[in-house]
């Protein structure tokens, strides 16, 4: 191996190590497993599905879906409760807070002043304007802002 080839090889290894080390955290979050805590606040749409405990407050339209039939649901501030297709329950004119626990739940709030905290495993979508953090074992493993386009992230 001549000197030129050696320098080229070292440069390639360095580039590979650097891109791996500084890769966006979302890649880690989307492939992770276990249990974490999501905290998010903003305006638009916040939705989460999975297993665990969800607390959400704000004003708008609240949507809850209990896939397994074991959810414990507490809602205060829901004006019009309606049952929709596919097992959805929606609360129009919602202005208050809700807590939902279960093994297969989906909770979403569309509106303003959304404050969401969820602990467990699952996936979440945040659309509009706001910010969020995901912690696992006391360490922030993911943070960012809500986007105009919906993106699905995983709680690691």
């Amino acid at each position: 191996m001549n000197k030129k080839t050696l320098i080229l090889t070292l440069a390639m290894i360095f580039t590979l190590v650097a891109t791996t080390a500084f890769a966006p955290q979302t890649a880690y979050a989307q492939s992770g497993g276990g249990s974490g805590t999501l905290k998010a606040n903003g305006d638009g749409l916040a939705g989460i599905r999975g297993s665990g405990d969800v607390s959400i407050s704000g004003s708008g339209i609240l949507w809850i879906r209990d896939h397994a039939g074991d959810a414990v649901i507490n809602v205060s501030g829901g004006r019009n409760r309606r049952e929709g297709e596919n097992g959805w329950v929606r609360y129009s004119g919602f202005n208050g807070e809700a807590s939902v626990s279960g093994s297969q739940i989906t909770v979403a709030l569309s509106g303003f002043g959304i404050d969401l905290e969820a602990t467990g495993t699952g996936k979440f979508v945040l659309r509009g304007s706001g910010s969020y953090t995901v912690e696992k074992d006391g360490i922030t493993v993911l943070n960012g802002v809500w986007t105009e386009e919906a993106q699905v992230f995983s709680i690691p």
Binding site: L45, G47, I61, S110, A150
Partner: protein
């Protein structure tokens, strides 16, 4: 000489007549505008439908806000909002699957349903 004068007068009369006919044919817009007046009046009498919002220039939060405002208004007016809410549910489900195109389409559909009630 007399014949020449008569021939010249006849020719000039003929030419001026042709010019008048030609001028009349060149001015039909005046007659058309006179006809179009009643048509314009009848268009004004038709009640226009509410103009669709310019969705392309609106953000998701703006569209979402418009939907909720219309939903509240229509609910307060006692209108049946089930169709719009079902459309919005499709939008929500699409958003949760990050299918943005479908989500936007269903949200816009929900808004239009409420606007046309």
């Amino acid at each position: 000489m007399k014949n020449w004068i008569i021939a010249m007068l006849s020719l000039s009369l003929l030419l001026s007549g042709c010019a008048r006919v030609n001028k009349r044919n060149e001015n039909p817009p005046a007659e058309q505008s006179a006809i179009s007046v009643p048509v314009a009046e009848s268009v004004e009498e038709i009640q226009p439908e509410p103009a669709a919002p310019d969705f392309a220039s609106m953000s998701f939060v703006e569209k979402n806000s418009l939907y909720m405002q219309l939903l509240n208004e229509n609910m307060d007016a006692g209108l049946d909002t089930f169709a719009a809410e079902d459309a919005y549910q499709r939008s929500l489900e699409a958003s949760l699957s990050s299918d943005n195109e479908k989500a936007d389409r269903a949200l816009e559909e929900a808004i239009l349903i409420l606007m046309n009630q």
